[in-house]
C-alpha cells in the first residue's frame, strides 16, 4: 500500500499514540476538579499549552485548544467578527480558502456582514495590491491561508501582515493548517492576530486543533459553559488528545527543516516523472522552491483533462495507491474546483484535478511508483 494523501490526514505517529494511550489510561481526572486527579489533569493541559506555545514562539495563554482545525477557524472568524462588530462591518478573505473559512464567511454574510472574496492570479496567489485595494475604513478582519490545501501555493502572508501593521483596527487571521511543520510558522505568528493549527495534519490525533489568539484580541465564544480555554471555548478539556497534539507539534517543529528539505527532493523527483506522462498538466511548475513566494513542499497538484478524477482515484486504489481529488472535505462534489476556476482554469481542467501529498518518511522509489502507476492507469483508461 502506498498512502499519498497526507494533506487529507496523516497517520498518527507511534510515539503520539503511546502518549495518548498512556494519558487516557492514567489521567482521566477532570482538570476542573479540585482533587489530585483533577490537578494532575490540569497540569497536563498547562504543560501541553506551554509546549505548543514554544513551537509557535508565543505565550502559553495565547494558545486555545479546540476540537478541530475547522472549529479553530470558525472561532477565529466568527468570534472576531462578532466581537468587533461595533468597530466595522467589512471582512476580507479569498476565494482560495478551505471550506471551514469560506463557509464561516458565508454565514457572516447572511448575518449582514459585508465580505470581500479576493481573487487570485493564474498561479493561485492572492495579490498584495488586491488586498490593499479591498481594505476599507470599516475592515475589521482579514483571513488568509498560509498554504493552499489543494494546489500548495504559498500565500504572501508576511507581506500582508506588514501592510496590516499600519491598521491596528484590522485583525489578521492566518490559517496555517497545511503549513505547520513544513514552513516557518514562528516567523509569521509574530505578525498575526489569530493563527489556526490542526493536529492530524502533522502526525497528531484527529479531534484536536489549536488557535493562537494574540493576548489583546477579544473573541465572542461560540461555545459557552464552564469557562475553559479563557472562557472562549467551554467544554471539559480533551486531555489525552491535546497532550498528543503538543507532542506532535514539538516533533514536527524540531524536524521541520530536515523534513522540508526531504519533501523538496521527493517533489522534484515526482514532478520530473509526472512531466513525462502524456495528458498530465502540472498545476505547479516543475522548478519550485519552498520559499515564501513559492509552493509548499508536501504536495503536487496536476490535472488530467478528459479523465474523471474519481475514476482515476479508484483505478489507482486497485493498485494500492491512495491519492485525492482536492480537499478531502469537498471531494465528493462533482463540480469543478472553486480554487482552480479562480485561477482561470477552463471548466474541463478545473474538474480534473488530482492531488498527491506525501511524507518525508517516503522514498524516491515511492514517487517513481506513483508516476508509473498513474501513467499506466491513464493509458488504460484512454483505451477503454
Amino acid at each position: 500500500m502506498l498512502y499519498l494523501d497526507y494533506c487529507a490526514t496523516s497517520p498518527v505517529r507511534p510515539e503520539v499514540i503511546q502518549t495518548v494511550t498512556d494519558v487516557m489510561t492514567r489521567h482521566y481526572g477532570n482538570p476542573s476538579s479540585l482533587h489530585r486527579l483533577g490537578k494532575e489533569a490540569e497540569e497536563l493541559v498547562t504543560k501541553a499549552r506551554t509546549v505548543v506555545a514554544r513551537t509557535l514562539g508565543c505565550k502559553p495563554s495565547e494558545v486555545l485548544f479546540t476540537g478541530s482545525g475547522s472549529e479553530a477557524n470558525n472561532l477565529a472568524i466568527k468570534g472576531a467578527a462578532l466581537a468587533y462588530r461595533k468597530r466595522g462591518n467589512h471582512l476580507i478573505t479569498s476565494v482560495l480558502e478551505h471550506a471551514s473559512v469560506y463557509e464561516a464567511y458565508r454565514q457572516l454574510e447572511d448575518l449582514g456582514f459585508d465580505v470581500t472574496y479576493l481573487p487570485v492570479d493564474s498561479t493561485g496567489q492572492v495579490r498584495l495590491a488586491d488586498v490593499e485595494a479591498a481594505l476599507r475604513e470599516d475592515t475589521i478582519l482579514v483571513s488568509l491561508m498560509y498554504v493552499n490545501n489543494e494546489m500548495g501555493r504559498v500565500q504572501p502572508v508576511e507581506a500582508i501582515a506588514e501592510l496590516l501593521k499600519k491598521r491596528p483596527k484590522t485583525l489578521f487571521h492566518i490559517d496555517a493548517i497545511q503549513a505547520f511543520g513544513k514552513l516557518d510558522c514562528k516567523r509569521v505568528v509574530r505578525n498575526a492576530d489569530l493563527l489556526t493549527l490542526s493536529a492530524h495534519k502533522f502526525g497528531g490525533p484527529k479531534g484536536v486543533g489549536a488557535l493562537y489568539c494574540r493576548e489583546e484580541v477579544a473573541l465572542l465564544p461560540l461555545v459557552s459553559g464552564g469557562g475553559q480555554e479563557r472562557g472562549l471555548r467551554s467544554g471539559t478539556e480533551n486531555v489525552p488528545l491535546l497532550v498528543g497534539m503538543a507532542k506532535a507539534c514539538r516533533l514536527a517543529e524540531e524536524e521541520r527543516e530536515q523534513v522540508a528539505a526531504k519533501l523538496l527532493t521527493l517533489r522534484k523527483r515526482l514532478t520530473d516523472q509526472l512531466a513525462l506522462i502524456p495528458g498530465v498538466h502540472l498545476t505547479t511548475p516543475a522548478e519550485m522552491t519552498a520559499e515564501d513566494e513559492g509552493y509548499a513542499p508536501q504536495l503536487v497538484h496536476l490535472t488530467a483533462p478528459g479523465f474523471r478524477p474519481e475514476v482515476v482515484i479508484h483505478a489507482l486504489e486497485k493498485r494500492g495507491i491512495f491519492i485525492s481529488t482536492r480537499s478531502a472535505c469537498s471531494s465528493d462534489q462533482v463540480e469543478p474546483s472553486r480554487v482552480l476556476l479562480a485561477m482561470g482554469f477552463p471548466r474541463e481542467r478545473a474538474a480534473a484535478g488530482l492531488r498527491i501529498s506525501y511524507s518525508a518518511d517516503q522514498s524516491l522509489e515511492d514517487m517513481d511508483r506513483m508516476a508509473q502507476e498513474l501513467g499506466a492507469v491513464l493509458s488504460m483508461l484512454e483505451q477503454a
Binding site: T19, D22, V23, L34, R36, K39, E40, E42, E43, L44, K47, A48, V51, S61, V243, A246, K247, R250
Partner: protein, 403 residues
C-alpha cells in the same frame, strides 16, 4: 541597530571587592551558561572578567532579557564581528554606521587593541576606519570627538574584532549569595515575590517558606507558590529551596480559641517563630517579608511591632514604604503578577476575622499565647514536618515522558 551577532558582557568588576570576587564571577558565569543552554546555537567564551556570547542566529532580545536577570553584572553591549583584517573591519564599520537609528550626524571611532600583533596602532586605526566611513557618507556625517551622536567602539581581540556602540547597564545589585542568606516568607500573593526579587538583587541568597493549611487550602495554592519560586529561580545560577510548612493544626487550634480579632496577629507571630527556627537550621541570618506599611490590618505599625516582637533575627521588609501600584508594576516586570492573582485561598485568607485588630496590644497577645499551652509543641512539630522542595527554573516534570 544592526542585527547583533555577539554580546560582550562585563561582569561585576566595579561592585565586587576582595577575595570573593572570583567566586561570584564564577557564579555569574554559571548563570549566563545556564541561560545560553536554551539557545543551542549560541556559544560562550570567557576572557578576563568578560564574557563573549556569539549568537550564531539566536535571538538577541531574549538573551539580553536573560542578562538582565543576572544581578551584579555591570554592563553588556550588542556587537557585530569582523575578521582581523582592516578591509573587513572597515566594511562592517560602514554597515554599522549606516544601520544606526536614528541616523547620526556626528560620530567618533575609538579603538582598543588588545591584540598587539595587529599591524596599526589604535590611533592609526581610528583614523583609517573613520576616514572610510566619512568617504562613504558623502558629506552627511562629521567627526565629533567630544560629543558624538554615535560612538563606534572597536575591540581588536586575539582571534577576531568586535564592533559596538552601546554600553547597556545591567540590572545592578550584587551577585546572588554575595551578601548572605535569608528566608523569604512566601504567601502566594503579589508582594512576597517582589520582596524576594529585591532581596536577591541586594545579593541575598533566599530560601522560601510557605505555610499551608491543607485540606483547607488546596494543592493548587501550593503549586502557585512553587510556580512563583520558579520565576525567582531565574535570577540564580541554580535552585531555590522552598520550605513547605504544615500549618493546619496550629491554624485550626488558634481559630477555636476565641481570639477572633487577634487571630491574624497570633498566626503571624507563630509563623515568624517557626521561620526563625527554620532559619537557624539553614544558617540564614534574616527573615524577609513582603509587608508594606498600612496595607492591611496586620501591616499597621503597631501590628508589625507586636508581630515581630520576640524575634531575634532581623526582619527585612523591602517593600515597607512602597505603594501598591509600584509593587504591582514590579510584579509584572518580573512576571510573577499573573501567577499571584490566581484565586486560590492561602493561609492568610483562610478564617479571616470580620474585623482584625489594627492596634493589637502586646501584653494581651502575650497573655493569650501563655494560655495556649499546646502552641510550642505544635510549632516544634510544624518545623519537624516541614518539607523542603528544590525548585529550578526549568520544571523537572514528572509528566515530561508524555511530551
Amino acid at each position: 541597530m544592526q542585527h547583533p551577532e555577539a554580546i560582550i558582557v562585563r561582569l561585576g568588576e566595579l561592585t565586587l571587592k576582595g577575595r570573593n570576587r572570583r567566586r561570584f564571577e564564577r557564579r555569574m558565569m554559571e548563570q549566563i551558561a545556564n541561560l545560553i543552554q536554551h539557545y543551542p546555537k549560541a556559544t560562550l567564551r570567557e576572557e578576563f572578567g568578560r564574557v563573549y556570547i556569539i549568537l550564531n542566529g539566536e535571538p538577541y532580545a531574549e538573551l539580553a532579557a536573560g542578562l538582565n536577570r543576572v544581578f551584579g553584572l555591570s554592563s553588556y553591549s550588542p556587537a557585530v564581528k569582523a575578521r582581523l583584517d582592516l578591509e573587513d573591519i572597515r566594511r562592517r564599520a560602514i554597515e554599522w554606521v549606516r544601520g544606526a537609528e536614528p541616523a547620526p550626524r556626528t560620530f567618533k571611532v575609538s579603538v582598543k587593541r588588545a591584540n598587539k600583533a595587529f599591524p596599526h596602532n589604535s590611533h592609526e586605526l581610528a583614523h583609517l576606519i573613520g576616514g572610510a566611513i566619512l568617504r562613504q557618507a558623502e558629506g552627511t556625517l562629521q567627526v565629533d570627538v567630544h560629543q558624538p551622536e554615535l560612538e563606534l567602539r572597536i575591540d581588536i581581540r586575539q582571534h577576531e574584532v568586535y564592533l559596538f556602540s552601546e554600553i547597556l547597564p545591567g540590572t545592578g545589585g550584587y551577585p546572588v549569595g554575595s551578601n548572605g542568606k535569608a528566608l523569604l516568607m512566601l504567601s502566594g500573593g503579589i508582594d512576597s515575590p517582589v520582596a524576594g526579587w529585591h532581596s536577591m538583587r541586594r545579593g541575598l541568597e533566599i530560601e522560601g517558606v510557605h505555610f499551608h493549611s491543607y485540606p483547607y487550602t488546596s494543592e493548587r495554592a501550593q503549586q502557585k507558590v512553587i510556580d512563583l519560586t520558579r520565576k525567582l529561580a531565574r535570577y540564580t545560577p541554580d535552585r531555590i529551596v522552598l520550605h513547605m510548612v504544615p500549618f493546619t493544626e496550629i491554624q485550626t487550634r488558634l481559630n477555636q480559641s476565641n481570639c477572633e480579632n487577634l487571630l491574624i496577629t497570633l498566626m503571624r507571630r507563630s509563623m515568624l517563630r517557626i521561620a526563625e527556627q527554620l532559619a537557624s537550621g539553614r544558617k540564614a541570618n534574616a527573615l524577609v517579608t513582603g509587608e508594606s506599611l498600612g496595607q492591611v490590618a496586620s501591616q499597621t505599625l503597631t501590628s508589625m511591632q507586636v508581630i515581630g516582637d520576640g524575634i531575634r533575627l532581623p526582619i527585612l521588609r523591602p517593600l515597607v514604604m512602597m505603594d501598591k501600584q509600584e509593587i504591582i508594576g514590579q510584579a509584572q516586570a518580573i512576571d510573577t503578577y499573573d501567577i499571584s492573582i490566581l484565586p486560590y485561598e492561602d493561609c492568610c485568607t483562610l478564617f479571616v476575622p470580620k474585623s482584625p485588630a489594627t492596634n493589637p496590644n502586646l501584653k494581651v497577645v502575650e497573655r493569650m499565647e501563655k494560655s495556649f499551652f499546646f502552641l510550642p509543641e505544635l510549632e516544634q512539630q510544624a518545623v519537624e514536618q516541614t518539607e523542603a522542595l528544590y525548585i529550578r527554573e526549568q520544571e523537572e516534570d514528572k509528566f515530561d515522558e508524555y511530551f
